[in-house]
């Protein structure tokens, strides 16, 4: 992914002036990889839907005890849960926290990693050495055990809190990529030219170098979101992070705790959130393929 980054077909000067045209061009490039584009569309639907559905579909917290673990029917396409509440509604409404944590973590991580990566690469010397050293150490610490241990000490109960903590451990990967890009781009001609014109470090970093790193940044954004979703769902599943009443992780936790795993009828209760989580992750992974088209468009038809 490192050759010829000085000219990006998808991200050019023109598109920055006219965001709409730029967006359309990006979408069209993404559509070249059909599988990836389908994944992207579905992922977008899930993400946007997660915020819309709670507003639209009310949560009936009162179930009827004679409707426990009912088999799927038109009235309840995904059956009911251990209290007789409809499962499909819970699944549709259950994405908010998960998605929020994913997006927020990715956002914070990107900001931290880009800022410090650029600083590290540009400044060099002591600064570079200490930031890289710190990154290596953070990278080595296993995240799940760390968060399990933290949850024992600190009460984690908001998505924002979790997102910030996750970002604190997720920045090293992107930082490394950003830093190595900056290091190699430092030598390029147009940077020399900008320096000669005395355009200032901030200008050089943000106007000249960043556009060339967009591929790493965007792809890493998606990957960070994926792993943040993974981690947060795991933590909620383990019962360690009481994020909200109903989200996919909580459903699975309750399924385990209430023994739904062992009741054949309760299958939809488990499969519902499972399907949602896996679908979202899978589609995000597929989106990466489309993004690959945007940043590394195929020039040949393949031999």
């Amino acid at each position: 992914m490192s050759q010829a980054l000085s000219a990006h077909p998808g991200v050019s000067m023109r598109s920055r002036r006219n965001p709409l045209a730029g967006t359309i061009r990006v979408l069209r490039l993404m559509a070249r990889n059909k599988v990836g584009f389908v994944g992207f569309v579905i992922a977008m639907i899930i993400i946007v839907g997660s915020y819309i559905t709670p507003l639209v579909i009310p949560f009936n917290s009162i179930g009827s005890t004679d409707m426990i673990y009912v088999t799927p029917s038109w009235a309840h396409p995904f059956g009911t849960d251990y209290e007789g509440r409809d499962v499909l509604i819970q699944v549709l409404r259950g994405g908010t926290d998960v998605v929020t944590v994913g997006l927020l973590t990715a956002l914070f991580t990107t900001v931290i990693a880009v800022t410090f990566g650029a600083l590290s690469g540009f400044a060099g010397g002591r600064v570079d050495w200490s930031i890289t050293g710190l990154a290596d150490i953070v990278l080595t610490i296993p995240t799940l055990p760390l968060f399990i241990a933290i949850s024992g000490l600190v009460n984690l109960n908001s998505a924002w809190q979790l997102a910030i903590l996750l970002a604190v451990v997720s920045w090293p990967l992107l930082l490394r990529a950003v830093r190595s890009q900056i290091l190699s781009l430092k030598q390029r001609d147009y940077v020399e030219a900008a320096r000669a014109l005395d355009l200032g470090t901030r200008h050089i970093i943000f106007r000249e170098m960043l556009p060339n790193m967009m591929s790493y940044i965007v792809i890493n954004f998606v990957l960070t979101a994926t792993s943040a979703i993974y981690l947060s769902v795991t933590l909620v599943f383990l019962g360690l992070v009481p994020l909200s009443e109903s989200n996919w992780g909580v459903m699975l936790n309750l399924a385990n705790v209430r023994g739904a795993v062992f009741l054949p009828n309760a299958l939809p209760y488990i499969l519902g959130p499972t399907f949602a989580i896996v679908l979202l992750q899978f589609c995000l992974v597929l989106t990466l393929r489309s993004l690959d088209e945007v940043f590394n468009p195929r020039l040949r038809g393949g031999a």
Binding site: G133, D136, I137, L139, T140, I141, P142, T143, L144, P145, L146, I148, A149, S151, G152, L153, R176, S180, T226, Y230, V233, T234, F237, L238, L240, L252, A255, N256, V261, F262, L263, P264, L267, I270, T274, I277, V278, Q281, F282, V285, L286
Partner: protein
């Protein structure tokens, strides 16, 4: 200038490089990795110390006030109890406590378990750790070997139905969180289809079986370990498959493969020594990156499968508020990850002859 002069000049240059720079760098790589590992362990220990001992409202303070309020024990007695259980000397100022803590660690003293008073944490760890290590090692071994082989096949049979099918399976497996995999396995193979007697397969050992080297024990070990190992394999194999596939495709396009064909080498030799040995290098790097993640996921997997390993112990300690054990487990897990990383790095250095010469790879 005759050709002989030129050659001897090249020779002298290379010789100089060898003894001065290259020689130093060869030792340098090993040394750097080891030092970095030690530093990381030190940072983690310090961090843990800080969290458990040094913060206000820390577990130690909580323990002391707990003892005082629940059992009416006076402050000094509670404090000395805390000191012995947490393996620190509370009469000393913080920095000395820290050194004492470090010293204790080197002796293997991690304090006593709060949930099981009188049991040293180290003893507990030794009881639970081997199981986790067993499952993770076996799982990783199987998934890496099988995954790489599949990846190789996928690259060689690119664009066939086999490739598409395996790629789909690989991508899919990569997207499923491991605990979900475990849950699904129990759900489908156990509950829905009744193939596996999962209730009996739970736990690390059947009741009454003692640890020894007998076939009975080993059989039982695998019987109970089968599910966790299967989950480790399934949750990681996708990564190896996909990485190996892409690196094999890249290797197949390299010049030296074309030249190898031109030399009339057999396809088998090319596949193993020319393509395979080069393609596996990026996968190995990926292994290094993933090890922490894989060991870390043990907690969730052991929870679902009720397998008494270190991850399981961690979770029970959380609900029991057994801070010393939590601390011990976290340390041991992190140290395991660091050690595994180091081993993997060293092994990579052996596999790739370019590493010792260049010194440290692109990123250092």
């Amino acid at each position: 200038m005759s050709a002989a002069t030129i050659v001897s000049e090249e020779k002298t240059i290379l010789d100089q490089e060898r003894t001065s720079v290259v020689g130093r760098l060869a030792r340098h790589y090993l040394l750097r990795r080891i030092i970095k590992a030690i530093v990381t362990v030190w940072v983690v220990i310090t961090l843990t110390f800080f969290l458990i001992h040094a913060m206000p409202g820390s577990p130690i303070d909580a323990f002391i006030s707990n003892q005082m309020s629940l059992y009416g024990i006076d402050y000094h007695t509670a404090k000395s109890m805390a000191a012995s259980i947490f393996a620190v000397d509370l009469s000393q100022p913080m920095p000395l406590q820290y050194l004492g803590f470090m010293g204790g660690l080197l002796h293997g003293s991690l304090g006593d378990s709060l949930a099981n008073p009188g049991t040293p944490v180290s003893t507990e760890l030794l009881q639970y750790l081997p199981w986790t290590l067993f499952c993770v090692s076996f799982g990783l071994l199987i998934s890496f070997v099988v995954g790489c082989l599949l990846g190789l096949i996928m690259a060689y049979r690119r664009e066939t139905w086999l490739d598409h099918a395996l790629s789909g399976v690989g991508s899919f497996l990569v997207s499923i969180p491991s605990f979900l995999l475990a849950t699904l396995i129990i759900e489908f193979l156990g509950v829905q289809w009744g193939i596996l007697p999962f209730t009996q397969m739970r736990g690390s050992l059947s009741p009454g079986v003692k640890a020894s080297f007998s076939p009975g024990f080993v059989g039982d070990l695998f019987y109970h370990g089968a599910l966790p190992i299967a989950v480790y394999v399934l949750s990681t194999i996708g990564t190896w498959m996909l990485t190996m596939k892409s690196s094999t495709i890249a290797a197949l396009e390299e010049d030296y493969v074309t030249v190898a064909r031109a030399r009339g080498l057999s396809d088998r030799r090319i596949m193993s020594a020319y393509v395979g040995r080069n393609a596996i290098l990026p996968v190995f790097t990926q292994l290094t990156i993933s090890i922490g993640f894989i060991i870390g996921s043990a907690a969730a997997i052991e929870f679902v499968l009720q397998y008494q390993g270190v991850g399981y112990l961690l979770l029970t300690s959380i609900s029991a508020r057994d801070y010393t054990t939590i601390q011990g487990i976290f340390l041991i897990i992190t140290v395991s990850v660091i050690v595994c990383n180091l081993l993997a790095d060293l092994l990579y250095g052996k596999l790739d002859p370019r590493i010792t010469a260049i010194g440290s790879g692109a990123q250092e």
